[in-house]
Each structure stands twice: as structure tokens, then as C-alpha cells.
Amino acid sequence: MNKFDIITTIQAQLGDSILAVQRKSAQRLYISIEPQSLEQASRLMLETFGARLQIATGVDTRKGFEVMYHWALDTQNSIITLRVLVDHETAELNSIAPMYPAAEWIEREIWELLGIHFKGHPDLRHLLLADDWPEGNYPMRRNFGATT
């Protein structure tokens, strides 16, 4: 499967849940998708394309929390980033850790640092911060330290 086939398959499978496709360079592709199709998209990356989850990045933006899943296609010399926007109010996303253990630690990290709750995560507890870290205090949020 070459790069073109991969993009065609993603578009065919995900259809309307694709919000934007940005081709940064020949090696970098950013695809914004609806949060509800995250599991389906991840399964597609993992099982159909044999991609490897490098890591996920969470960013606090004005529009909401942006969570990016960076998938490396090692046979294609490219990285596809799946981008989802999570609402500030709900701050919730489905966990992909049950189907892919590699995502377990990073979801724990994003939960404790950015405060996004991962539904269905097998073991959502502190990873880097202390166990007695005050609840609801998320260091990577923009308002961290503003009120405390």
C-alpha cells in the first residue's frame, strides 16, 4: 500500500468525520477528525496500515483542547497526525489504550497534565505527578496558576 492508497482509504473509511486535511510536506500529513471517530481511525492506522503510535500531544488552545496522535508509517517514510478537538467544558475523549497498550502511559500523562478524561482507560492514575497532587489542577492548561 503506497501513500496515495493510504490517503484514499482514510477518506473512504472515515468520510464525513474528516474535517480538514493538511499536507505539510511529502513526509508529514495532518488530518483533523471528529472525536467520535477516533477509535475507528486509530484501528484503521494500527490494523490496516500497520502504523506505529509514536506519541500523542495535547495542547490547550482558545477553541478547545487539541489532541494529536502521531502515527509513524515506517515503510512509507511518513508521519500521519490525527487531530481531534476536545471541548473545554466536557474535556473527555474515548481511550484507545484498551486496544493498544502503547497508548496507556501517554493517556495517563495527558489526563494529569491537561485534564482530559479518557473514557474506558484501564488504569487512569497519576504517572508523572505525585499521588497527592491537588485534584483539578492541571499544569499544562493555559489558566494554570492564574487563580491559585
Binding site: 509514536q54 502503547a102 504517572l127
Partner: protein, 406 residues
Amino acid sequence: MNKRTIVPIGPYHALQEEPEFFKLHVEGETVVHLDIELGYNHRGIEKISESKTFEETIFLVERICGICSTSHPIACVQAVEDAGDIHVPERALFIRSAVGELERIHSHLLWLGLAGHFIGFNTIWMWAWRFREDVLNILELITGNRNHYGMMKPGGVRRDINKTDMPAIRGLLDGLQDPIKMFRDAVIQDPLIHARTKDVGILTREKAIAYGALGPTARASGFDIDVRRDHPHAAYGMLDFDVITCEKGDVFDKAVVRILEMFESIRIIRQCLKQLEKVGGPVDSNPKTVTAGEGIGHYEAPRGEVFHYIRSDGSNRPVRHKVRAPSFMNVPTNRETVLGASVADATIILAAVDPCYCCTERMAVAVDRNDGEHLLDARDLIRLSCEKTDRLMAETGFQGPSLPDF
């Protein structure tokens, strides 16, 4: 039913002198569960980075880890270059690869020495670290520093390699070939090392993929990935080298991959030096600004892929800087490899992924005092491991790897 006890390794790892906490749940001598606790060394580097300029960020990420002190900067400058579409002169690419490969040799020698120490062969330890000094001398010659080289910058490297230093660098590099052959023969053919490491701590290919294992940990299990070959960057697309893989994924295979990789690194450095004689020009494109955008940089560090993501808004500071070290993916594989092993083997299994805690935190093993357990400290763990080696020596009559006396 057997009584379950918890053997804590940590919160300060007694063997690797780094903060981390492994809770080994054991029944009798057998490990039945592993709980890993991190965070004792979390310095909030991603957050600090948001207050640094792109030039300063490189110095910050260089201090994530003392051993990978050029892998993080290479990945980071590549992320900045990807975000701002910054051109890098060819000569700088060869210097980046040469310094990166020197770092790989010194890191693998460091691991080999520690692994020898853990299973009771202090001669390997002393010899490995003695030749690591030569690598550090080359690095000092090139960069001015034994660690924290300060070589990388967005758009190139900070220092050129002087033509007058070439003969000395080549001499030291040639001197490394025979000692690494000595380690290869001593370790790979030794029956006692086989008895201690073969079929110990197996990570299957399926599990390596499921956990997203990286570097030598993945390659020892037959998961053939190497960012240098799969995603060519720096000068790797212009160089000839082999990616070393094994099939079984036990401690022995992990050692073999690392030892053989050192020969490849020497090959790569020689090619780089040769190219540096031909390729002239500047070593820095001196970018003045980083345009708004986002970029991903990754580099095959000694332990696996280092990943950096940078988002720029057009100012001189990153809006977001995500760092992922290879141990973050490799350490969780211990939950699979250590199950069913004895406490005496746990020491070497947990060390076989060559974990780097200050990178990952951004972890350890012990027994529950309240339940009549007792605490094992570092000395106990090394003692248990060394006793097993002694027991095997007595049973089999093997003497272990023979290395020349100093």
C-alpha cells in the same frame, strides 16, 4: 496459596542510580506482577520550554538526559526546521550524524558495562568503561565537551570539525574496533553468559509491536524499525549501514543487537569523516526567524526513537513543545518480560531495555514490611544476581568471559 509479597526497587534505583520505582509482586521467588511508578524526576521541561527562545530550547533539551545529550537536540532542531521550513547545509548533516553515532557507541558501552556488573562480571564493566573513555575523548576533540556537546542549532551545527583534528579522530576510532570485537567474542560465545541471559526476559514480536517498543528493544524481538533507515534524516540517507535485528527478544538478543550496532556506528562515522573531506561549505544556514507552523522531528537515539513536536506562532518561542523519550515506550514492556522470572533474573531483565529515567520523566523493586516482608536494597539485588552466576559456575564448570588483565 502462595503468599504474595512486594519487592520494591526504588524510589531511587539502586543499580542505575536514577529515581524510579518498580514494585515487583512476587510469590516465592517468582515475579507475578510489576507496577511501575514514575515522576520522581519530573522537571516540567515541556512547560519550561514554552518560555525559552528556539535557540535556548536546544540547550534545555540537551539537559533532559546526560547520555542522550545530542539525540534530543537533533530531534528538537529537526522539529524546528520542519516547522519553519529551514534549510540545513549538507556539511552540517554529516557532522550531526557523526556526533550522533559517537553518542551511540558510548551509550552502548555504558550499558554493556552495567549489564556485566549486574550479573557479576566486573571485568566487563571495567573494560567497557575504559574504552568508553576513548569515545568521550573523540567527542571532546570535536565538540569541546565529554557530554552536553552544545553542537546542534536550528539550521545547522555550532562548530565545524577541524581538518587538523581528523588524524587524531581516525586514530582513536580505529583503536575502538578491536576492543569491541573483544566484547563481541567474550560475550556472544560465552556459555555462562548464555546460561544467564538466553531465554530470560523474552519480549515477543507481537508484544513489542503492541507496546510500541523502540530501538534495540524492538529490534531484538524482530520488530525491524530504525528511524535512521525508515525516515532518513541528518546524513543517513547518504550513508551505507545495516540495521541489526534478532528474533527471540531475550536479554541475550538485546545485548547482541547493541554490540553489533557499535560496528555499524564506526562504519557510519568513517563514511561521515570521508565525506567531510569532500563536502565543504558553511555548517549553519543561520535562520533569523521561525515561521508559524508545526513540526515533528525524530532521531534514532541509542535506546530508540526520540520524538519532538514543536508548534510555532511566528514568534521566537514555541507555543507547545512535546518531548517523548524512547524509555517512555520501552519501560512498560517490562510488565511482560519480567513475569514468571525469578527475583535474581529480574535485575538484568529490567536493565535490558537500557531504561533512562530522567528521559522518561520525566522508576524500581522491593518486599512489604507490614506483611512480614523485608526490603531488598540494591546490594541485595546485585548479590542475588551474582549468587545465581556463582551457582551456575559451580554447576556447569564454566568460568565466564575471559578478558585480559589490565
